[in-house]
Symmetry: C2
Subunit: 251 residues, 2 copies
């Protein structure tokens, strides 16, 4: 049976999603360990995609084929009972045999959180970037509109990205401001949806928009980066711990 | 000069507020270390009161007398620059010479958070109690009204509490339900104000109300506990990590 898992994790103490050759602690590694133990044989856990070391997930999706006939409810309890507390399975359901968390995905949404306050809250230090300098929200929102649509995202991806085709469609880029009640400070949330993300793309887009917000970069430069693909025009990558995988989209 | 400090801390990795004889990591210990270093002499940091090991503070208040003439802004930066990231000074101001964080306090407000969901979120595990069983909010809110007013809180305090007089006035006890957006689950917040709290009083009141919410205790038993002071009628103390010191009240 093919099982579809909905997963939350706090990425702080993980070297990202993907199993590493050097045996570092990863989310896929923990899930593989537990699911192989429950199956009594080695299994492969397919995630919708990697997340960076330190980045979080509110709704990562994975699938795994198991021979043993678990009901979804029993499987959820069995997995959570054997996982560390910084990963939780939120939901398990059976899926069509050909469902594949990565290849069936139609897109993803990421959220990036920035606490714009002079002092960083101890309660947000793992989940949001601290930016003590003033940020011009209107300027960032204006520049954000440039990112919509189908573009080659070379300027906003890792130089060592292995993707050959760097054309993706960005379908949403909202920037909203909230008052964080514990701090009485401004929490700024960037929400980005695309049919797919290149490595570091979400963090690079946010880092570039933060430069715009601080008045260090103009919308014109951002547009030049998008159309020319020159990495030096985009440049800044926002720290991983502010990033959360919010949703994976399927048909 | 007498300085008044407003302090946030995540209590997870502290053995509470108060300096311990056995040299365990405490909030008061960290602040004393940093302020003594800045002063160049041993200083005493007076907090508004203890918080339990694992409990948090969004607005603890402390005062300290320093000979060296810091401006409040400079002092804030100097302290934060030398503190670990799980404690932050949110504000510094100069206070009247006779201001004392503990003796000048007129009351306190605590918040207790409960995540009422079958699976615990990795993002709330340090800050909220996990209660997977159903909770009857209306029953808890009804019982909560019994706690208002001036009572002897013997049944709701530590047996080894050193307070001789256990009479305190509870001025607020709200129970509110929110939808936690990361989990799409119910977050229940207890907000309790009193002119003073005995040791374990806030956690004991919440623990007892949770028993009411689970149908294990009636409002009548709660009332008996309040009027007779019998500890066996109150009994349950909710775990420290759900508790946060929200505010200290001064004139």
């Amino acid at each position: 049976m093919n099982y579809r898992l909905l997963i939350q994790y706090e990425g702080t103490d993980f070297h990202g999603w993907q199993i590493q050759a050097n045996n570092q602690r990863t989310v896929q590694g923990e899930l593989t360990r537990v699911l192989s133990m429950l199956e009594g044989a080695a299994v492969t856990v397919h995630g919708s995609g990697r997340t960076d070391a330190g980045a979080h997930a509110e709704a990562q999706v994975a699938n795994v084929h198991l021979e043993r006939p678990f009901t979804p409810d029993k499987l959820l309890i069995a997995i959570n009972g054997n996982l560390p507390r910084d990963i939780r399975i939120m939901n398990v359901e059976t899926a069509a045999p050909d469902f594949h968390a990565r290849f069936s995905a139609k897109g993803k949404t990421y959220r990036y959180r920035v606490l714009n306050a002079s002092v960083m809250s101890p309660f947000w230090r793992r989940y949001a970037l601290h930016e003590p300098r003033p940020l011009d929200l209107a300027k960032m929102q204006c520049a954000a509109r440039l990112f919509f649509g189908v573009h080659d995202w070379t300027a906003f991806s890792a130089a060592r990205s292995d993707a050959e085709n760097r054309v993706r469609e960005v379908t949403r880029l909202d920037i909203e401001k909230f008052t964080e009640t514990r701090m009485n400070a401004e929490l700024i949330e960037f929400t980005i949806s695309a049919e797919g993300f290149l490595r570091y793309m979400a963090r690079s887009i946010v880092g570039t928009l933060l430069e715009v917000g601080r008045g260090e970069k103009t919308s014109e430069t951002v547009w030049q980066a998008i159309v020319t693909g020159e990495r030096r025009l985009a440049k800044e990558t926002a720290a991983a711990h502010g990033l959360t995988l919010l949703k994976v989209h399927y048909d």
